[in-house]
Amino acid sequence: MGVGIDVGSTTTKGVLLDSSGNIIAKSLMLTGASAVQAVEKTLHNISSSSNIDLNGVPMISTGYGRARVELAEKSVTEITCHSVGVHYINPDIRLLIDVGGQDSKVIRVGSSGRPEDFELNDKCSAGTGRFLEVMARVLDVSIDELGPLALQSKTPCSISSTCTVFAESEVIGHIGAGKSAADIAAGVHISMVSKISALSKRVGVKEPVCVTGGVALNPAFKHHLSNQLGVELWVPDEPQLTGALGAAVIALEKKGEM
C-alpha cells in the first residue's frame, strides 16, 4: 500500500492505494489555517473510510505544506507528483497544466512519467485559482457558478491580466458601467487564461494536453484555454487529486510494490 498527501494552499488531498495500485480511499478538504490539522484530518478520513491502520504504510507528502506531514518518509515537489499522477491515469499525456489555488504550473511529461521541463507562475496570483475566487466574490456568485455564468456571455469585457488587485478594480469599474455579470465573468476567464496560455507556450504545447487542479472543473476556463492553445484538453475525473495520487504512486514505487 502507499499513501500520498498533497497539502495545497487551498485544499488538502489524500489518496491511499492498495498494493495493486487501486485507489481504496481518498479525501479532499479545505486546508484552512492549520496545515498540521488538515493533515491529521485527512489521514483520519482515509483511515476510517478504508478501515486500514496507516501506521507503517509508506507515505509521501507534496504541496506547499509538504514539510508539515510528519509521518511522511519523504517529501516530493508537486511538480514531480502531478506528473507521476497524471501519467498513472493516462500515460499518453505529454503536457500537464495544473492550476491550483496559489500557483499554476505547466509540466512537460516524459514518456516515463517524470517531468522533463516545467514553468511556474511568477510571484503574482493573476494566473491562479485565487484570481477566480476574488472575482467571484466581487460578482457576488459562488466559485462554482462563475464558470457557467461566463459561458453565457456573447461579448466578453476586456480585463487586464497583470495583477489580481488591479483587475478587481477593473471589474468594479465594469459593474459600475452597467456591464452584465456574464460578460465580466467571461472577461475574467479570458484574462486568467492568457497568463496560463503564455506559460504553456514557454514550455511548448505538445499534445495530448491535460488540465488538473481545482480550476480544471471550471467549464469556462477549459473552454477559453482550449481556444487560446488551439488544442483539445483532457481532464481526469478527479483533477484535484492528481498530486496526491502521484505521491501515493511514488510511495508504492519506493516500497517496491510497483
Binding site: V76, T77, K123
Partner: protein, 408 residues
C-alpha cells in the same frame, strides 16, 4: 530543503585562505579611508578599467561590493529603504539603492559604508543605471562623475565604436589629470596592467580547477574570493592573495578534496548571488549538490596584458568593451553552454534578479536555448541580490527541488 547541520559535520569545507581574505578586506578598507582623507578616493563601477585610476595613484572602492556586504549583513531592506524614503523606486537596482541609502545614513551601516569619494568613475559596460546612480551620489557628496561610455557589442566591436571608446579612455586620463593635477606615467600603467594580468590569470586558474571532480570550490567560495580581483587588481597584495589561494585550490585538487563533502550533482549558477542567503548553496551542499561554475565570477576573467593590440589604451578598450554583460544574448548563451560542457555540469539554475535587468533580461529565452544545445535541464528562480524582501524561499525551494528530482 533540510536544515543546516552542526558545524563539526558541515557538508562544505572552509577555505584556509579566508583568513587572508579578511585581512586583505581590512587593509583595503583602511587604505580607502586614508585615500579619502588625503583627497584621493575614487568610487568605481565593477567593470571599470581600474588600472588607470590605480596607476594615477588614486584609492579605489566599489559600491557594488559594499552592496554585497550590506546584503550579507541582512540589512538590505533597511538600507535600501533609506533610498526609497528619498523617493527612489523599489524597482531601482538594489546595489544603487543600498549605495544611496548608506550614503544618506552611513551611521546605520555597521560594515560596508564607503568613505567619501573625491571622484566617481562609471563605465556602462555593466549597465546603464550606473550613470544615474553616480549622478545621485554626486549630488549627495559633491564629487564629479566621469562616464566611460562603451556601446554594447553584438558579435564584433565596430571600428568606429572602438575609436569612440579609445577617445573615452583618453578623456578619462585627461579628466583624472585635471582633477588631481597629475599625469599617467607609461611605466606605471604597464606595471599596474601587468599586476592586474597576473591576478586575473591566477583567478582563471582557480576557476578552471573546478573542472575537477570533486570541484575544489563551490559557488559561495568563489563569490567570496572574487573580492580582490574585483576591487584590488593591479596591486601587489592582490597577486599575493591569489598565489596563496591557488596553492590551496591546487592542494585540494591533488588530494581530491572537494568543496562539498559528497558531490553528486554539478550545476551552473547564472547571475549575481543572493548575498543575503548564501546559505542557499550550503543547504544544497548538504544534499550533495555543488556549483563548480557560474557566469558571475567568470565575468572577471578579462586579461589586459597579452591582447593583440598596440598600446595599453587599446588593451583597455579591448578588455573592458568585451565584458560579459556588454555582449549580446548569443554570447551569454555561448558562454553558458561552454561552461556546462567544460565543467561537465548536470543542469543549471538561473537567478532572475529583479534589480539587475541587464543581467536577467533574456533568461527565459536563453534557458530554452541552453537546454536545447546542451541537453541539460535548468530552472529559473526569482529574487534579488541585496533586497531580501523579494526573495521567496518557499517558491525557490519548490523550483530547485523539482529540478533536482529530475536529476537525482
Amino acid at each position: 530543503m533540510t536544515q543546516e547541520r552542526p558545524s563539526e559535520e558541515k557538508p562544505y569545507r572552509r577555505l584556509e585562505t579566508q583568513t587572508l581574505l579578511q585581512q586583505i578586506a581590512l587593509r583595503h578598507g583602511l587604505e580607502a579611508m586614508e585615500a579619502s582623507e588625503n583627497g584621493n578616493l575614487a568610487w568605481v563601477t565593477s567593470g571599470f578599467p581600474v588600472e588607470i585610476p590605480i596607476a594615477m595613484n588614486l584609492g579605489v572602492v566599489y559600491p557594488e561590493q559594499a552592496g554585497a556586504i550590506i546584503g550579507a549583513q541582512k540589512i538590505g531592506p533597511e538600507i535600501c529603504g533609506y533610498a526609497e524614503d528619498l523617493g527612489y523606486s523599489q524597482d531601482l537596482c538594489s546595489y544603487a539603492r543600498s549605495s544611496i541609502g548608506s550614503t544618506e545614513k552611513p551611521d546605520k551601516v555597521p560594515v560596508g559604508s564607503l568613505p567619501t569619494p573625491q571622484i566617481l568613475l562609471a563605465c556602462n559596460n555593466i549597465c546603464g543605471t550606473v550613470l544615474r546612480w553616480y549622478d545621485a551620489i554626486s549630488e549627495m557628496t559633491g564629487a564629479p562623475v566621469f562616464l566611460l561610455d562603451t556601446p554594447p557589442i553584438d558579435k564584433q566591436q565596430l571600428p568606429h565604436n572602438r575609436e569612440y571608446v579609445h577617445r573615452g579612455v583618453e578623456r578619462l586620463i585627461e579628466f583624472i589629470g585635471s582633477q588631481f593635477n597629475r599625469t599617467l606615467e607609461e611605466d606605471r600603467i604597464r606595471k599596474v596592467a601587468e599586476l592586474s594580468s597576473r591576478a586575473t590569470k591566477l583567478w582563471i586558474s582557480a576557476l578552471e580547477a573546478c573542472k575537477n571532480k570533486p570541484s575544489p570550490l563551490n559557488c559561495a567560495d568563489r563569490f567570496l574570493t572574487m573580492a580582490p580581483v574585483v576591487s584590488s587588481r593591479g596591486t601587489e597584495h592582490c597577486v599575493e592573495f591569489y598565489e596563496a589561494f591557488v596553492a590551496e585550490v591546487e592542494e585540494r585538487v591533488k588530494n581530491r578534496i572537494g568543496a562539498i563533502r559528497d558531490e553528486k550533482v554539478r550545476l551552473l549558477w547564472d547571475n549575481i548571488p543572493p548575498w543575503h542567503t548564501l546559505r542557499f548553496f550550503n543547504i544544497l551542499a548538504s544534499r550533495g549538490v555543488g556549483f563548480p561554475a557560474d557566469t558571475y565570477t567568470h565575468a572577471w576573467t578579462g586579461n589586459m596584458v597579452g591582447t593583440d593590440t598596440h598600446s595599453i589604451i587599446d588593451e583597455v578598450v579591448e578588455t573592458y568593451s568585451k565584458v560579459y554583460l556588454n555582449m549580446g544574448l548569443d554570447a551569454k548563451v555561448d558562454k553558458m553552454c561552454q561552461l556546462i560542457k567544460d565543467y561537465d555540469l548536470d543542469g543549471f539554475v538561473m537567478f532572475s534578479v529583479r534589480s539587475c535587468k541587464r543581467y536577467s533580461l533574456g533568461q527565459l529565452v536563453s534557458k530554452e536555448l541552453v537546454t536545447e544545445r546542451t541537453g541539460v535541464p535548468g530552472v529559473i528562480i526569482e529574487g534579488d541580490m541585496v533586497d531580501s524582501r523579494v526573495y521567496n524561499e518557499a517558491q525557490i525551494e519548490t523550483r530547485v527541488d523539482a529540478l533536482l528530482e529530475m536529476l537525482m
